[in-house]
Symmetry: C2
Amino acid sequence: MSVAIWSRREATSRAALEFVRQCLPLLEAEGLLGGRSAAELSDLVEVCSSLESAVKGASYVQENYPEDMETKRAIYATLDAACAPETIIASSASALPASAFTEALAGRGRCIVAHPVNPPYLIPATEVVPAPWTTQESVKKTCEILSDAGQVPVVMSREIDGFVVNRLQGALLNEAFRLVGEGYVGIEDIDVAIKNGLALRWSFMGPFETIDLNAPGGVRDYVSRYDGLYNNLLSQMQGKSQWLGDVLDRIEASRRAQLPLDAHVERQAWRDRRLMALAAHKMEDDERIGR
Amino acid sequence: MSVAIWSRREATSRAALEFVRQCLPLLEAEGLLGGRSAAELSDLVEVCSSLESAVKGASYVQENYPEDMETKRAIYATLDAACAPETIIASSASALPASAFTEALAGRGRCIVAHPVNPPYLIPATEVVPAPWTTQESVKKTCEILSDAGQVPVVMSREIDGFVVNRLQGALLNEAFRLVGEGYVGIEDIDVAIKNGLALRWSFMGPFETIDLNAPGGVRDYVSRYDGLYNNLLSQMQGKSQWLGDVLDRIEASRRAQLPLDAHVERQAWRDRRLMALAAHKMEDDERIGR
């Protein structure tokens, strides 16, 4: 297995390669390379000078162009012409479905969305979203390739705007903006309620296993106990809350007080170090305590 | 500092004490007792035979009666009469606000909700929700006592049904039930999207810091890039989705296939071991990588 990087601007490709080379030793130190060495893996990644040479012989292409329909249509036409018929062409689109930019292509059956979560090399969940014409064989092959690369596919049966991740995130954010905007709670308190609260259980169980364990009789018991409560809450939670104006000014001010913009890149590196350590920790716990 | 347990049924108090005694050595082994020993702390917990003796000299009472308005009113009347005027009387109510059961009390100024997240001894976030007549002094004292006990208060400025935690959880669950109910994605895929996706970042940053780091210009840049996307998604996400009937049957069947009900208690113990290990891991990362 080897990885070819191609971008319209060669400087972008070089920066990507540099990023990979910086990350690999950190991943090795956390025991996250499955026993292989940073040096060995680094040698498998190369920058190509043309799209055609990058996709030559590829079993899988991950397309990362800007999320604009015409831009996607153009690059997909180029990729479909350049790739061998058996190559999967997966898009990193986070909300645009593959049906929006692959309908007219001869090879549309091997086109699919494989939406990673940022930062992709540390967040395993990857949304696999077939267009109506994507073949089942392509879905299967995409999942196999992602799994081999250490990702965990979340396979959708059909397309919906925002897929799963951004819909779940949007639902939670919408209520967070509402509670902050209407002055019930502070901005940092929302982060505390999640990072010292809900996300601890969610980080190794997910929401359904969490509620299943939160009532003596399991999930059916949980819903029968709390459906009335949630009916009441959800009746108050309708509509998009205000994300702009005063509430955004306050959130921006709070975040900048904690993190000046010139420390942003450094903080992203901190986030990635924490995610690496968390990945190593979860692997160890899976072994020691069980999954 | 010592802790007195009292319950209407002495067997319940004994079971609570037994639970504490079982947990302490596990917490000690994970380095979560702040350098104190399980034996030393175990000696500070006692069962009392009457409510009056349990609250005598207490600076803080945590009330855990069933969440029913009349039940809460009755126990609060008893507690308000039995406690010294300076004792804080905090309720574990998860959705009922303190104003629903403390209005008529002479000591209503020291009554408050302090809603812990299950399991309370491993989830630090605790919602502190004052009634309109709760004094600021009582809010402050509640936060100090919770912080001393290793909890992290999430302080609300005023009451709202479901507080913060259950509103954020309800928003996310509602969309999860919708996506499963309408057949877009499998039940386990929802858990994967969270436990291998969104909750990894949330578990040490929370949702606002997450989006702040997800756009080069911070949270304002993030919202200006994605507000249109979320407007579209949220317009499709209105109303309570179906939580009962076929979707609940399928979720129950999926959960029971993974975990028979007779293994439920054992799995809760597994969850708690994972939460202990995660707490120890986060403490270590705060030190090693920074918070």
